[in-house]
């Protein structure tokens, strides 16, 4: 059955695919991707529960072996750094689009391109109260990441924004555009 076959495509079959699924699961979560970016490693994310979800081992129990393999082999942040930055930029722009109800101008892209705003946004994004608030030890790292993101925003802000606005309209979220 076609649907069954398609569902199985998402279940990794070997070590390489397992790493790929785990990395993608981090990328597709705004929350997890920014945590890994700010902390500089996957330690906080890398639990059996996370890996079971990422590898679909509850659908394919034989994948428990891959879960056990991955738990001892976390992905290094530096290996996925660029993809994490791109994901963070998309999510920053999404927040802007939501707050401004889709009316984001080129002026806004410049106005809100400030490492202090970006750093504050990231710190708020990953924390639950004070839990996982990456401060004070991570302050310098966060500022460095915020500078990188600010530069990426100057370079790619406009084309990324166009994609996000199209998605926003497609989802019927635009009230007065």
């Amino acid at each position: 059955m076609g649907d069954r076959k398609k569902a199985l495509e998402y279940i990794p079959r070997d070590r390489d695919e397992a790493f790929e699924r785990a990395e993608k699961t981090i990328m597709y979560s705004g929350y997890l991707s920014i945590i890994v970016l700010l902390y500089g490693n996957t330690r906080i994310v890398w639990s059996r529960e996370f890996l079971r979800r990422a590898l679909r081992s509850r659908i394919e129990p034989s994948n428990e072996a891959l879960v056990e393999m991955l738990i001892d082999n976390p992905v290094q942040e530096r290996e996925i750094h660029d993809a994490l930055l791109r994901a963070a930029l998309m999510n920053y722009l999404r927040s802007m689009v939501w707050v401004l109800d889709g009316k984001v101008s080129d002026v806004d892209l410049t106005r809100y391109n400030d490492p202090v705003i970006i750093a504050s946004w990231m710190m708020a994004y990953v924390s639950i109260g004070r839990t996982l608030l990456p401060y004070p030890d991570k302050r310098e790292r966060i500022m460095r990441i915020a500078e990188e993101l600010s530069e990426l925003l100057s370079r790619w802000g406009k084309p990324y924004l166009r994609r996000i606005l199209a998605e926003y309209r497609e989802l019927g979220l635009a009230r007065s555009m």
Partner: protein, 66 residues
């Protein structure tokens, strides 16, 4: 009742696509759909991403490709 719960959010394109797919195949009435915008006990669920599919109180699939 199949015992499946699907967690979604209105800003999420994958959630939107998945709901469309389920509607097309008349599967929507077989599952419970929950918007995570104001989810009870959300922190206990550890739902760091949507869409997410739950069965027997365990998340069995999560974005991407849920």
């Amino acid at each position: 009742m199949s015992g499946y719960t699907l967690y979604v959010h209105r800003t999420c394109k994958s959630s939107h696509k998945l709901l469309g797919y389920l509607k097309e195949r008349r599967l929507l009435d077989k599952i419970t759909v929950i918007q995570v915008e104001e989810l009870d006990k959300a922190l206990a669920k550890m739902l760091y991403s949507v869409p997410a599919l739950e069965s027997q109180d365990e998340i069995i699939a999560i974005d991407p490709g849920a």
